[in-house]
């Protein structure tokens, strides 16, 4: 029951951030997203007795839900980025598009549910979250929501790694964190060089 609740919060915060128009609110929903993901990782790790997952969950809670939003907020203040971010897709189309994406991805994952059984619906939620964060990235033109969309995509990868298999090799979890680190480093370097 706890797993379903946390996955519900994960998906809810992702969808709310699709409809938001203010940057700080987007950061808040992203922080909630990462928080639920971290707790999910800790819960799974405790169930499977996998210490690596518990540690990864704790790192997620600390770094992704507190560290990265704080860091992005500092960058926004320093570079004076635009804080009112309007999606390019009109709201009427968005109301139709988001359920269409959900239905499409759940339809895609239907055969998996029949053959796999146990954790199949989490794969479905992960695939739909991937498409939704791609949509988040595509619908804004400012750079800050695009970065948040990319970070949500990394969260989706982590969700898939935690729930779909019975524990990923540490390599992949390290790889995800490494990817995040490299992306943040490059984003900082690029932002400090020249403004867009």
């Amino acid at each position: 029951m706890m797993i379903n609740f946390l996955i519900g919060i994960f998906l809810a915060s992702l969808i709310i951030s699709l409809f938001s128009t203010r940057l700080y609110k987007l950061l808040f929903w992203y922080a909630l997203n990462s928080l639920s993901l971290g707790f999910l990782a800790i819960y799974f790790g405790a169930n499977l007795d996998d210490n690596g997952m518990i540690i990864a969950g704790i790192i997620t809670v600390l770094m992704k839900s507190i560290g990265i939003p704080y860091f992005l907020k500092q960058i926004t203040v320093k570079l004076q980025l635009v804080r009112q971010v309007q999606p390019n897709i009109k709201i009427q189309h968005s109301i139709l598009l988001v359920p269409a994406i959900l239905v499409f991805t759940f339809y895609l994952s239907e055969p998996i549910m029949q053959s796999m059984g146990q954790n199949a619906h989490y794969v479905a939620v992960a695939i739909s979250s991937l498409f939704l964060s791609l949509m988040l990235m595509m619908e804004h033109t400012n750079i800050a929501p695009k970065i948040i969309g990319f970070l949500s995509m990394e969260n989706t990868l982590f969700l898939l790694g935690v729930t779909a298999t019975g524990g990923m090799p540490m390599l992949i979890e390290l790889g995800i964190f490494f990817d995040l680190l490299m992306a943040i480093v490059i984003v900082t370097l690029l932002l400090n060089r020249k403004e867009i």
Binding site: I112, A126, A164, T165, G175, F178
Partner: protein
């Protein structure tokens, strides 16, 4: 052995931090060292385990790595006189070589890997360092393109990781923790009892790879990026980065062929025909060199994928080798061809004086014609073998007419490209004003290196080696 492979890159990385008067010379000469370990790998017994089960060298690996090192040497050769064609500072040179060394390390890990995770890490390292390489050009348009490249590149890599996790989870019940290695997956491909999960994972992986290679929905980002960066960076992108991605595609699609070949063929064929359709018309309308060459690179990658999926290993590898030599050669020559401005295609092959100039324009026109597969270019042979492989797999199934129709459409689209290239080479040679252009010895040497390697590619020992894979 792994240490020897990584040694030149590490030396370049360290030396690039030392401030010196002529950074490009020393760093370029050091980068020639990369050829030594790769030749040694080529001559060893395969399969050779480089690092446990994680990095394994077999015939395809060694071939691809060897080609990449030849390209790297030629690019470093031509980098010696980059500042004569574009404005670049010494600091930018050093930064470029720093990024180049990380790129090479990532490349080694991704090409040699037998483990999906290590392949992905190497690919990601390579991609992120090319972002940094594009930044050596500091105009405003280049910064915007860098952002675009970063976004598109990271989306593509994340999609690949997503697909890798799905594939791993589909194979985990049967293979346990070892489901990450390519060789084990290939051996036990028929025992995976959730083939649909594998197919979704493979579809997502290939969509990520196709985005990076510049296929159907994302055709223009590659052309824009290569336009915005300097020509050696474009050469590196098209020659070497594509080789890492195509290596991964080779491995993944081999496993997918075991599981369900019909789905794979239908998916890849329809995707490639769409891509060729868009790319051929885009090529028809280009007005400058860089875009022309990068779009033609997309077209050749599409052909390589088509040949591989039809079961033609030999034509795919031959085409890949020929393309990896011709395309960077043409990119490196755009440095000279564009000496008088970007959009002067007409008359680009006129106005060369002296022996160096004559040799240059003869080589460039030969390369241009070789790119559109006129004999005796290796591309001619590879396309012949490739189309025959496509007809071969259609003979076994009942879809001969569909395959012939597909081949007909592909040839039609390729003829548009053929027409444009012939028109470009004619106008380069016979139209336009005669403006003096200067060729430097190192660029000429780079082009000669490529020409020699193309001739070596056509020689019997190499053909036998490729046929034996």
């Amino acid at each position: 052995m792994l240490f020897f492979l990584l040694l030149p890159a590490l030396i370049i990385f360290v030396v690039s931090f030392i401030k010196q008067e002529k950074p490009n010379h020393i760093l370029a000469y050091i980068s020639f060292l990369v050829i030594i370990p790769t030749t040694q790998l080529l001559l060893m017994d395969k399969p050779y385990a480089l690092w446990g089960d994680y990095l394994v060298v077999d015939k395809i690996n060694a071939y691809v790595l060897f080609i990449s090192s030849v390209v790297a040497i030629a690019v470093s050769l031509s980098l010696l006189t980059l500042e004569k064609h574009v404005s670049i500072t010494k600091v930018a040179y050093r930064r470029f070589y720093r990024a180049f060394s990380t790129f090479w390390i990532g490349l080694i890990f991704s090409i040699m890997s037998n483990n999906m995770g290590i392949y992905w890490i190497g690919l990601e390292l390579a991609t992120l360092s090319t972002v940094y390489m594009i930044q050596t050009n500091t105009t405003r348009g280049a910064v915007k393109e860098t952002w675009n490249y970063l976004i598109v590149g990271t989306i593509a890599i994340s999609l690949i990781l997503f697909g890798i996790i799905l594939i791993y989870s589909s194979a985990k019940p049967t293979l346990g923790e070892e489901a990450m290695s390519f060789s084990l997956l290939l051996a036990h491909a028929n025992e995976i009892d959730a083939p649909y999960l594998f197919e979704i994972g493979f579809a997502i992986v290939s969509i990520g790879m196709f985005i990076k290679m510049g296929f159907f929905p994302m055709n223009l980002w590659l052309a824009n990026v290569e336009r915005a960066s300097f020509y050696p960076v474009a050469a590196l992108l098209s020659g070497i980065l594509e080789s890492a991605i195509i290596m991964g595609f080779f491995r993944f699609s081999k496993i997918a062929m075991e599981i369900n070949q019909t789905h794979l063929v239908v998916f890849v064929f329809s995707y490639m025909i769409l891509t060729l359709f868009v790319v051929s018309f885009l090529i028809y309308r280009t007005k400058d060199f860089m875009r022309l060459f990068s779009l033609s690179g997309v077209e050749h990658m599409a052909l390589i994928v088509l040949f591989w999926v039809s079961g033609g290993v030999f034509p795919a590898l031959l085409h890949f080798g020929a393309h990896a030599f011709l395309k960077p050669a043409l990119f490196l020559s755009t440095g000279v061809l564009e000496s008088n401005g970007k959009y002067r295609i007409a008359g680009a092959l006129r106005g060369y004086s002296g022996k160096k100039g004559k040799l240059f324009w003869i080589l460039v026109s030969l390369f241009l014609l070789g790119l559109i597969s006129l004999p005796p270019s290796p591309m001619f042979f590879s396309e012949l073998y490739g189309f025959s492989a496509m007809v071969d797999i259609a003979k076994e199934s009942k879809h001969m007419i569909a395959m012939l129709g597909a081949i007909f459409i592909i040839l039609l689209l390729l003829s548009i490209i053929f027409y444009k290239f012939v028109e470009v080479s004619q106008s380069m040679k016979y139209e336009g004003e005669v403006l003096a252009k200067k060729v430097y010895w190192n660029e000429l040497l780079a082009l000669l290196l490529f020409a020699v390697s193309l001739l070596v590619l056509l020689s019997p020992p190499v053909i036998d080696y490729l046929k034996g894979i």
